[in-house]
Symmetry: C2
Amino acid sequence: MAVFERLTHLCFATESSATLFSPDLRPFRSFTVLILELSSIPPPYPPQQNPEFPFSEIIRTVHPVGPIEYSEAETFRSSKGGDWIVGGFALFFPNYASFLAKPGFYIEEIFVRECYRRMGFGRMLLTAVAKKAVEMGYGRVEWVVLDWNENAIRFYDEMGADILQEYRICRLTGEGLEVYGRKKKEE
Amino acid sequence: MAVFERLTHLCFATESSATLFSPDLRPFRSFTVLILELSSIPPPYPPQQNPEFPFSEIIRTVHPVGPIEYSEAETFRSSKGGDWIVGGFALFFPNYASFLAKPGFYIEEIFVRECYRRMGFGRMLLTAVAKKAVEMGYGRVEWVVLDWNENAIRFYDEMGADILQEYRICRLTGEGLEVYGRKKKEE
């Protein structure tokens, strides 16, 4: 994703900096990732449900116009084995809509690898998050888009989202945040 | 807060729609509220620490230019008893900065009642959240501001925040969200 956004200079994640999951954080109540996994073998697949993850696999057959490119298959090998590979993901977590007195979901990232785009997988991931939000009685789903990304804005509009024009994100990070760690309590 | 923002027509919270806290959600790992409580009685106060809430009270003495107005004291009575009343709050929860591979905090609301403004309480609440973020090893603190709210933008800039100009919030809510509950899985 950082490569796609040309923001690798801002990306500091390594395999050893694993902070996303911990045993006390429950799926859908904290950070959650849906993984898009692809195989060239036709269904039916045996249903696989992780008892700790309250979500049934969504299975979909696509008929791509061209051949699916299994580029970097080794890197993106799925834990399912066989020829399954990871094609994308959605990373999201609850937020809280105080005016609705309900939680919602905030989608930090929806990403589909270049070779699997324009096949409806982004829509599939966003739909899965929105369906789960309704199922849990949550009041909204939010994410952000860059104001110059017209294709994305058109897609989100088609999905039924409002694009809020007046809000700006404020961010404290890096040294601007670290100074607070050195402040005394009473400041 | 809804009155201040002239958005009461969008505010649907009632006392019976309590969804903010539940026993399985831990402070700072999920929805968290810091309460600003005020008393006219000078310190020292006996330290009060809730063993279930990993946060020590921050005590601060202010010398207001004019008298503090105890308007609506009955409505905003604090659970501390005495003459303590609630003057404001900060509602926040973890989000996740995937490029930093670290959680952060998202502040949904910082609010100080009209009669207690311009005394540094907003800064005190924001500082408390930022300090806690650093203490927990989190990578950022974020919130939103309306683009026409120049006073707020100036304040956040002074607090060290970047105001991100390119991002727009996308929101699925109401009927736009509910339709997803009626979709079939494979859509």
